[in-house]
């Protein structure tokens, strides 16, 4: 540093006076700027500390790892969902529960809103007048009104308007189940009939010297029948009244791991590994020799077989299903009233409202991003693909998506960031996310500055993680240029 300064001094063009030498001006300017920033920040920090002292408030304590930091004091309030904590648990556990709740909302929200957003974006480009306009109206409504208003509307207007616990709604009722099973039977029959007619038409055509029956039809009919059959079987076996919906939330059957769960998990890992290995080798075979390798079929089969074998080998089921049970209390006058639902997994109305609100809002934006991405692919690409004889699906997969994704990914990452940050609005509908926990803790402990810094660090961490992930993805998708 000093040496370069000396060199610079010696080689300075002495005809330029010091106050006009741009390098001097820049250095001095930066120095003054840095000094001013440091002084201002110092002043602010000292003023805040002074004010805190004057108000006899505890000064900020950022040594979170210290043994006597107030994060180890009891929180004095409990959190009833997600990572549940008691009021005697230390503050850091409550804070962690808040982080966990935020994560629960964000991860699921990101996944669902991406799926919904893609549907919306594709619908906006649909040839179908109704579908296109429904998507447009959806996007305009959700983009042009504040998320907070939507959240409160969904919470107060929808989830708090659900029936009271006494009048709880149960799904599926016996009638609904029967109806659905009958529907699958009808659907199966229709598919079979359509398949048969198409096949016969092909046969007739062949007799007249035309094209024979399309070979793909058989596969499609079998696949559809299999899906419908499995759906019907599941519906038939499913016990009635296992889902309860009321103002207290949605109660669904819970899957609890049993003792053999960890053993079974090993099979899962092995299955994944084997599937991955098969996928890699089969795709390589396809690429090198050109014979169809069917990598996905092989990988899925291997995985399913290993997992099912694991299920058979481990003693007993690895997961136990706990169905919710209504609890009836007898009131004075002999009235029997449903007062609560025991067991099962409860999804609180607050969580559901937050998730629905975030998903609907973000999906509108993602829809626009997806639409812009698809429209950014020039029409010539599509025509060229069709000219080469690629099918619709192949064109979508190999031509449009890779190019559209390049446009889509950067703004998509921004939307994920927004969703994460927007999840802090949960505090307005009483969901205990990390910001709501922070607010409660500020009221409980009076440590405003520390808590605000802690929650800001948390959100910064979320944001940086998502940014890093999206940057990595973007780097992978980017066109490799010189």
């Amino acid at each position: 540093m000093i040496r370069s300064a000396m060199i610079w001094l010696r080689h300075r063009d002495s005809s330029v006076p010091v106050w006009r030498d741009i390098r001097v001006l820049q250095l001095v300017g930066q120095f003054i700027f840095a000094l001013a920033v440091i002084l201002v920040i110092r002043e602010l920090v000292f003023n805040v500390l002074d004010s805190l002292e004057k108000l006899e408030r505890p000064s900020p304590d950022l040594l979170f790892w210290d043994a006597d930091h107030f994060f180890r004091d009891p929180a004095r309030f409990s959190i009833h969902e997600g990572y549940k904590t008691e009021s005697t648990d230390p503050i850091y556990l409550a804070f962690w529960a808040g982080i966990w709740n935020t994560l629960r909302a964000c991860v699921l929200g990101i996944i669902i809103s991406t799926i919904l957003g893609i549907i919306i974006g594709v619908s906006r480009l649909s040839n179908n007048f109704l579908v296109r306009n429904i998507a447009i109206i959806y996007v305009e409504i959700f983009q042009n009104t504040p998320l907070l208003v939507q959240l409160i509307f969904i919470y107060q207007g929808v989830f708090l308007a659900l029936p009271l616990i006494q009048d709880v709604l149960t799904f599926p009722s016996e009638n609904l189940k029967d109806g659905l099973v009958q529907l699958t039977i009808i659907a199966g029959a229709v598919v079979l009939a359509v398949g048969a007619i198409t096949y016969l038409r092909g046969v007739l055509r062949a007799q007249n010297g035309g094209e024979g029956p399309n070979s793909a039809i058989r596969g499609r009919v079998i696949l559809s029948l299999a899906v419908i059959g499995i759906a019907g079987a599941v519906l038939f076996v499913l016990p009635a009244d296992i889902i309860y919906l009321s103002i207290r939330g949605l109660v669904i059957p819970a899957l609890n791991p049993t003792d053999s769960f960890s053993t079974w998990l090993i099979f899962w890992a092995v299955g994944l590994l084997a599937g991955g290995y098969l996928w890699v080798t089969r795709s390589r075979l396809e690429r090198d020799t050109g014979t169809p390798g069917r990598p996905w079929t092989f990988a899925t089969l291997a995985f399913v077989v290993i997992v099912v074998v694991g299920w058979v080998i481990v003693s007993g089921a690895p997961l136990s299903v706990e169905t919710p049970e209504p609890y009836f209390a007898t009131r004075s006058g002999g009235r029997v009233v449903l007062t609560k639902i025991d067991g099962g997994e409860t999804i609180s109305p607050e969580y559901a409202a937050l998730l629905v609100g975030l998903v609907l809002y973000t999906a509108a934006f993602i829809g626009e991003i997806v639409r812009a991405g698809i429209q950014a692919v020039s029409y010539g690409q599509l025509e060229a693909a069709y000219a080469l004889g690629l099918t619709k699906g192949e064109t979508l997969r190999r031509i449009i998506l890779p190019q559209a994704l390049r446009v889509i990914i950067p703004p998509l990452g921004n939307q994920y960031l927004n969703l994460t940050k927007n999840s802090s609005l949960a505090t307005a509908i009483g969901f205990m996310d990390v910001f709501a926990v922070t607010k409660t803790l500020i009221h409980q402990t009076g440590r405003d500055v520390t808590m605000i810094i802690a929650v800001m660090i948390t959100y910064l961490f979320f944001s940086l993680t998502i940014s890093a992930g999206m940057n990595w993805l973007n780097g992978r998708m980017r066109l490799k240029e010189r």
Binding site: P17, W19, R20, Q26, G29, Q30, F31, F33, A34, V37, L44, N47, V48, S51, L52, S126, N127, N128, F129, L130, V131, I134, E140, I141, Q143, N144, T145, P146, L147, L148, V149, Q150, I152, F153, Q156, G157, L417, K421, N422, S424, L425, T427, A428, F435, K439, D448, V449, I452, V455, M456, Y459, L460, S463, L464
Partner: protein, 761 residues
């Protein structure tokens, strides 16, 4: 090329004879499936099997949703929670006598919008004026009228004014009072304000509680007498049913037969009897009351008997809510409520009773639509008229030189006018601002001269120039801070001006002189206005309204406009800083931008709310609204910075290089070459950011301010409107939607018709 030479010789042999038809083939109609309604349907709705399935599903979805929505909004929704509180939504708790100021602001903004509408639509940027008019004015007005908008407005006005006239049944919700000896209130009296043409109809009819509360009206959930009576009846009924099926349950004691006599008197402000209504023996009595003069009227009751009760229906009774402030205009108009026997009389309050249960479409239009139309039609008419005036003014404006520039200055002036009107006029504050303006007016020409001339000053006089700029600019500000006499400040500043003058060369002196005259002219006008204000009563007229009285749309707009305006320059500076070659400035910008973008707005608002008073003792008095504005400004600045940075990156490097090649300095390149192109390129993104800022104003609700969403909460927490969250939230959602949509529409218009560069880039 003949037939034989044709290369496709593999085709089957042609017959020897070739018949050529010379007449063209008869024109055939295109197939039905390709044109007209059927063609449209088959193209847009039933293109393929999948399309048909989608159409059927969509129709089903639309049908179900429309049915649910219509049924709810007609039969069940309580829109009176909106119509009764329109002023609250508009102004929040802004002092009632001062509401005219808010209206003035809105009129000004609407006028300017109309003006902008015409000017932006007609005059491309850079065009100096439209030339001389050569056609009659009326013809031009007709020619350039936005026909579609006028027709839509006329239809809207026709509906708003026509519907209430044609169905004269439409009126306010009648007020129902439950009159019964079992009422805890006992003999109660109610004050009501009538206007001469109100002519209310009073009806007394027996309360048949065995059929539930009649006419579908119920009281608020609090223990009102009618509710109690109904509950008592319900208990009786259930016990009776149970005793019939279950022998162990005793049959209930029979309810007492109705036995009640009621006399209702209407007294005017001088306690003279206007009307008397008496009922006993379970009969219905109706009496139209003739109101002679506007004013307070008292309704008194005499009740005797043991059980049962009557409903008193008061139709065409002006509805107002229980808030004390809604009383103020009535008290102002008619004086204090007259006292009866030396006791204060409570104001008759429609909040006692609410519609319950489903209602028919007729009643929906009578009770819900009518009042809303009545409340909103004058507003819509004024907005339409003022917009039209602004539009016409725009037609005149385009004949002046530089219409776009004048329009921009009008907008900037309107911002100051808005702040003064909204906050109130304070002479001392105004003088303080005036001094700052003077300081800037002295600094401005110097900076401008420096920027344009960039070292074309007299050889070797740079230190003198810098010294002059510092003295000229900082003297008024510095003296203002230590509150020394103004003359001394001006004298020192004059010294600075002389120094600058000395340092500049001839060309720069001319430029400097020109800008000096303009800035000092501005400063002089500011001062003259201040002197004028000192001698007038404007300070009493425009009393100070603390920001905690701002609310509703006013607060939402104030928050949005202030943070948008303030965040823009900060954002541009941050963007430039981020692109700077100087590491300190660059990393400072990067750090602050990324920090702000990494955390949610609500944490910043929370921090601003808690920490601002601690930063300095002078800030302890800063109120919540200003704290929120500070937080939102910093938040938005980071996003603006990122958008502007994108624009800066979009400007080709060649532009900068060319500017350098013609000898422009760094600042000149930035201000005259790079920035205009960068900003035009990012207009849509900037508008998008401002829309999201406008929507984000709703977040101040969480730190307890009463903006639009805050008002919504106070409304649906009022006792009489509990449970009307949906109606209220839908209403404010529509307001937000209109605001956001208008912004994005304007941005699209600017892109289409505005500067050519915006289209090119």
């Amino acid at each position: 090329m003949t037939e034989q030479e044709h290369p496709s010789s593999q085709q089957p042999q042609r017959p020897a004879q070739v018949i050529i038809h010379w007449e063209p083939a008869p024109e055939r109609k295109p197939p039905v499936t390709e044109t007209g309604v059927i063609g449209w349907l088959s193209k847009n709705l039933f293109g393929s099997t999948g399309d048909t399935v989608l159409t059927v599903i969509s129709v089903l979805v639309i049908a179900v949703m429309a049915q649910v929505l219509l049924k709810w909004s007609i039969a069940d929704a309580e829109w009176t929670s909106v119509t009764n509180n329109l002023r609250l939504f508009m102004n929040g708790r802004y002092p009632v006598p001062q509401i005219g100021r808010v209206r003035l602001i809105l009129a000004m903004l609407v006028f300017l919008s109309g003006l902008t509408w015409y000017v932006v639509g007609r005059v491309p940027a850079g065009v100096k004026s439209k030339g001389s008019p050569n056609k009659p004015l009326v013809w031009r007005i007709l020619d350039q009228m936005p026909v579609g908008a006028v027709i839509v407005t006329l239809i809207l006005l026709a509906i708003l004014y026509g519907v209430p006239i044609f169905s004269n049944q439409i009126h306010h919700t009648p007020t129902y009072l439950y009159v019964s000896p079992t009422t805890e209130r006992g003999d109660f009296n109610v004050a009501m304000a009538f206007e001469a043409d109100d002519d209310p109809t009073l009806t007394l009819f027996p309360a048949d509680l065995t059929a539930g509360i009649p006419k579908g009206f119920s009281d608020t959930p609090s223990a009102d007498a009618a509710g109690q009576a109904e509950r008592a009846f319900n208990t009786y009924q259930t016990q009776l049913e149970k005793s019939e099926t279950d022998e162990s349950v005793e049959p209930p004691e029979p309810l007492p037969d109705p036995d009640v006599a009621v006399t209702v008197r209407v007294l005017d402000a001088n306690l003279n009897e206007v009307a008397v209504l008496a009922a006993d023996d379970q009969e219905t009595i109706t009496l139209p009351v003739d109101i002679a003069i506007d004013g307070w009227y008292l309704v008194t009751f005499e009740i005797s008997g043991e059980a049962g009760g009557y409903w008193l229906e008061v139709d065409t009774y002006e509805v107002f809510t229980s808030g004390g402030e809604t009383l103020a205009p009535l008290v102002e108009a008619y004086g204090e409520i007259p006292e009866l026997d030396g006791e204060r009389v409570e104001v008759g309050d429609s909040g006692f009773l609410r519609y319950r249960g489903s209602r028919s479409f007729k009643e929906f239009s009578r009770l819900q639509v009518g009042p809303f139309f009545e409340a909103s039609r004058d507003v819509v008419l004024s907005v339409a008229v003022i917009t039209a005036i602004g539009y016409l003014a725009g037609m005149v404006l385009v004949y002046l030189p530089k219409p776009r520039m004048i329009m921009q200055y009008l907008w900037i002036l309107s911002l100051f006018a808005t702040i003064i009107l909204l906050r109130g006029f304070n002479h001392n504050e105004y003088m303080a601002v005036a001094r700052l303006v003077t300081g800037l007016a002295l600094m401005g020409p110097a900076l401008y001269g420096y920027l344009n001339a960039s070292f074309i000053n007299r050889e070797g006089q740079e230190p003198v120039l810098y010294l002059g700029v510092v003295i000229a600019a900082l003297a008024p500000i510095g003296f203002y801070l230590i509150s020394a006499p103004f003359a001394m400040a001006m004298a020192v500043a004059g010294l600075g001006v002389v120094l600058i003058w000395y340092a500049l060369d001839d060309r720069c002196r001319r430029m400097y002189l020109r800008w000096m005259v303009i800035s000092l002219g501005i400063a002089l006008i500011v001062y003259l206005l201040a002197q004028l204000a000192l001698n007038s009563s404007i300070e009493e007229e425009l009393t100070f309204v603390a920001t905690d009285r701002w609310g509703g749309v006013v607060l939402t707009l104030a928050l949005a406009i202030v943070s948008i305006t303030a965040s823009f320059p900060i954002g541009v500076l941050l963007a430039l800083g981020r692109r700077s070659q100087l590491p300190v400035i660059k990393w400072f910008s990067v750090g602050s931008i990324e920090f702000v973008r990494g955390v949610p707005l609500i944490t910043i608002l929370f921090m601003a709310n808690i920490m601002v008073p601690w930063i300095s003792e002078g800030l302890a008095e800063v109120d919540d609204v200003v704290r929120a504005m500070v937080g939102m400004t910093f938040f938005s600045a980071a996003y603006v910075a990122e958008i502007v940075r994108g624009g800066l990156q979009a400007v080709p490097v060649g532009q900068t290089e060319a500017a350098k090649a013609v000898g422009m300095s760094g600042w000149q390149t930035t201000v005259y070459i790079v920035m205009p192109q960068a900003l035009r390129a990012v207009i849509p993104a900037l508008v998008g950011q401002f829309i999201s800022l406008f929507k984000d104003t709703s977040l101040v609700f969480i730190i307890g301010l009463i903006e639009l969403l805050g008002v919504a909460r106070t409304v649906y927490q009022q006792a009489e409107f509990i449970g009307t969250q949906k109606e209220v939230l839908i209403f404010i959602g529509i307001i937000y939607f209109i605001g956001s949509y208008a912004m994005s529409y304007t941005s699209r218009r600017i892109e289409e018709t505005g500067s050519g560069a915006a289209r090119r880039l």
